[in-house]
Amino acid sequence: MERYYQPEIECASREQILAWQNERLVKQVQHVWDNVPYYRKKMEAKGLTPADIKGVDDLHKLPFLSKADLREAYPYGLVGMPLKDCVRIQSTSGTTGKRVVAFYTQHDIDLWEDCCARAIVAAGGTNEDVCQVSYGYGLFTGGPGLNGGSHKVGCLTIPTSSGNTERQIMFIRDLNATILCCTPSYAAYIGETMRDMGLTPDQIPLKAGIFGAEAWSEEMRQDIQNTLGIKAYDIYGLTELSGPGVSFECSAQSGMHINEDHFIAEIIDPDTGEVLPEGSQGELVFTSITKEAFPLLRYRTRDICSLSREKCPCGRTHVKMVKPKGRTDDMLIIRGVNVFPSQIETVLLNYGYPANYQIIVDRVKSTDTLDVHVEMTPEMFTDNLGEVSRRQDELVDGLRSMLGLAAKVTLVAPKSIVRSEGKAVRVIDRRKI
């Protein structure tokens, strides 16, 4: 029996959702026009006034916002409320450049936590559950977001934050945590550590996990589910829009429902900026229609994915986005070929290797090289040198057919690749361009 946190919203009719979106978008554009001069100038440059935006059908007329705009407008340029009405900031990890700082009113936080609560209930959470939040707390949105959602659902919340894996495991076992929230790479690490301790899935009280903040493959999901004996659900979000909970997976585990009462999603051609027809793959663009303090219109996420309006067996009516392969920032261009780390992960797990890998890109005599470091496992090791080399070649072939380019595979010692307690460092790019 599927349960919902806000059934009247999550299962609303398409007409109702559209009506909300039309009304809220018009209001939001006026709010931005009145309070965010940075965006008003962009609209004026296109000859637009709020009167030109009568509903979702006019959305495509509005100018885009990109990460570059956020940097230019740093820190207050895109804030839509007087600071006396703002109660919090959160910030990105700054891995791809200058940090982005996002602002929240109390109302913004409230709606954000509702979104996270929807995700927890969709993963089977109730007030009987013990929810361990092992995302980082602090500037990162993961910890505060799921913490707030967990409170709203009424779970007993264990705010461990990330790190100190032994202690994480101690709390999971001693307090019988049933739901784990963290990055997928940290979930895999916790699982690996528990396995090394000799714990089998039936000795681990967890039943569900809500994992996000980085791209992960379907194979990695299977791996985590098997090791921890849980159902693993994806959750998606961006600090720029609020944090986790922009979209989340339901029991169908096939794409994430976007909270369309708060965010309007579009898919565009990343090169031309043109809106693509429904079902096409392209760059995901979000317009936040309820945020007060940081109201971003047509924000380009750099995430590549597609949307599906196919009826979902869970009963939710909000559009689903397929698992993104990764951000365009994560995408590597190697010898002119686009490569996402998640594609490499898929091949590794298909061939029985663990998701402990690192991708080393370099440039030797003006040719890009791709070297995938994979940890050897006891299961894969044999005394037969030919057999080990054969498996290595098999992996090279698998990578070639997935990526369309030749990669080198280096087998490295177990545990030699540094484990992550937050977002994993998958790529080392040594090219000096």
Partner: protein, 144 residues
């Protein structure tokens, strides 16, 4: 009758072999024979030791991936033609040798010992024994 060879996976980079021998030395594991096979980026160290249980525990704790492989320890007269005679027997019995390596017999100066990894261990043991060639077992190796 076979010996338990420990095969260890090593990354082919400076210091890994030393890290392994350090772990074994610190825990008093005595090596009887060692051979190293390598490719461009990884290697397999093959070891015959006095105490297999201790050695594998040490390796596991130190984080080395390893496996156990049955091999034959053959006593060979330390004289010209000694090895040839053994290989002749195996050849006649149509036993394929995958790899082999030598170790000297410690206090016993008359004999050398060879480690053989063969495809058909039983056939090899039968053929060698029938020709009066002595195989050593794990206890014997420990005592050498």
């Amino acid at each position: 009758m076979s010996l338990k060879q420990i095969s260890v996976f090593l990354e082919n980079k400076p210091g890994t072999l030393h890290a392994m021998t350090t772990a074994l030395a610190q825990n008093g594991v005595d090596m009887r024979a060692l051979s190293l096979a390598e490719t461009k980026d990884f290697g397999i160290v093959r070891l015959i030791v006095d105490n297999v249980y201790d050695a594998t525990t040490v390796l596991k704790d130190a984080g080395f991936i390893h496996s156990l492989t049955p091999v034959l320890g053959v006593m060979i007269p330390d004289e010209p033609g000694g090895l040839n005679q053994v290989l002749q027997v195996l050849n006649e019995a149509a036993v394929n040798v995958e790899y082999m390596y030598a170790f000297l017999g410690g206090a016993d100066a008359d004999h050398a010992y060879m480690i053989f990894r063969v495809q058909d261990g039983e056939a090899a043991t039968a053929a060698l024994t029938a020709h009066g060639i002595r195989l050593v077992d794990q206890d014997e190796v420990a005592g050498l």
